[in-house]
Symmetry: C2
Subunit: 244 residues, 2 copies
């Protein structure tokens, strides 16, 4: 339990490989995660090759972890394998739709997170790349994903070469609701965000970006409305193009 609470995202890794044995052992654990109807509608692409990493890097805005980590894992929704099995067994699959994109995402993300926790228990460090849903077409191209396969999470994995400070989290009361959703009053919001806003690193962040508030750093710099809308359009189009 203490492992869970002390965890940190690791972005710098030692130049030391991860054996196939260890990786397979972690996958054995990960694939025990709950899965809808025991259908396992996911696949994992393991990237170790430097050239393949270089091809994948632009999709992740060239974040250095992609090329520096010994292993990059792309967790994909996969309705292709299941549908192929159906067709080969005289059954007509009907999984090329939005419901199964979402159901597949649930399946896939439970596996990804189980992998991460198992990996951290073995002393490895991981980093999720939020960029996976920004440029799915580039990932699809780099990893040669066919129809009904869609990348939903990417993690870099390696032996930690840093020990960063743990970042803040919102207080429990800000995240949990008893029986029904209790919408937030102005006072609630002030209280829930006060610790985050009091942190020196976050105050620095406001100054560096010449903003008035921390929230503006998110809305005006990091995750802008117009970018979000363009990405929404692209994500929807690529999802359709992949057959969902």
């Amino acid at each position: 339990m203490e492992n869970f609470k002390n965890r940190r995202t690791i972005r710098k890794y030692k130049q030391k490989d991860i054996s196939d044995n260890l990786l397979n052992d972690l996958f054995e654990s990960a694939f025990r995660a709950s899965t809808v109807g025991n259908m396992q509608v996911y696949s994992v692409i393991v990237t170790r090759d430097d050239q393949r990493k270089a091809k994948l890097a632009p999709a992740h805005f060239n974040q250095p972890m992609v090329q520096e980590a010994p292993v990059v894992l792309t967790f994909c929704i996969d309705l292709n394998r299941f549908s192929k099995w159906c067709k080969q067994r005289n059954a007509e699959p009907g999984y090329n739709n939005f419901e199964w994109f979402v159901t597949g995402a649930v399946d896939t993300l439970l596996v990804a997170q189980t992998f991460c926790i198992a990996a951290e228990e073995k002393g490895l460090g991981i980093c999720y790349l939020g960029t996976t849903t920004y440029n799915p077409h580039l990932i699809i191209d780099a990893l040669e994903l066919p129809e009904l396969v869609f990348p939903i999470a990417t993690i870099t994995v390696g032996w930690p070469a840093e020990n960063p400070e743990q970042v803040d989290r919102l207080p429990l009361e800000g995240l949990i609701h008893k029986e029904t959703y209790h919408d937030y009053t102005l006072k609630d919001i002030d209280r829930i965000y006060s610790y985050k806003e009091s942190l020196l690193t976050n105050k620095q962040f406001i100054l560096e970006n010449r903003k008035e508030t921390l929230a503006q750093v998110f809305t005006d710099v990091r995750y802008k409305k117009e970018d979000n809308e363009a990405m929404s359009k692209l994500l929807w189009e690529i999802m359709k193009k992949q057959g969902f």
Copy 2:
């Protein structure tokens, strides 16, 4: 690690409560999961009240776990809290779109799965209810979820009152791809699914449903094309109605 590999979904629970202390301890672990930009765009609704469980039950096709488990947790994508904070801090949020529905789903599912693994470490048993995305409108109604809040995973939690057999999983080679996606040949599909198809329980399943193949049990009985398509339409509409 052995815990991970020996896990089973638990659907029958002892009539014994889970303390708030233990639950909060598990949430402390769960909320350490990776989150996009440290934004934590999720909320968890804790259902303990019998009347609320009864209201929630039809959304989950009255599966008995909902009313028998001491605790039901509904993990929701939540862009409402973050957007409220933005508005209160003179920042214009732009998270009411598909990109943030998906990003929020990733955030939320990593938390849900971390909770489950932490809970199992403490001896609790859990069951994911795949029905969450079938009737989201009923859940939204039962839990009074406002705009920009969307239920993406439900789990029932309790002290195990059963020790079921572990179910099968596909072999690793069927789920992992090296460097690029290697599409499946007819022979690959036969090999990957052979163990599953050889199981007596699955053969029984074909007989009971008067089908020719196990795949037909999925396509003709459990997850039918017309149902999937109707659910896709509904899921999309409710997502839009919730403001995404």
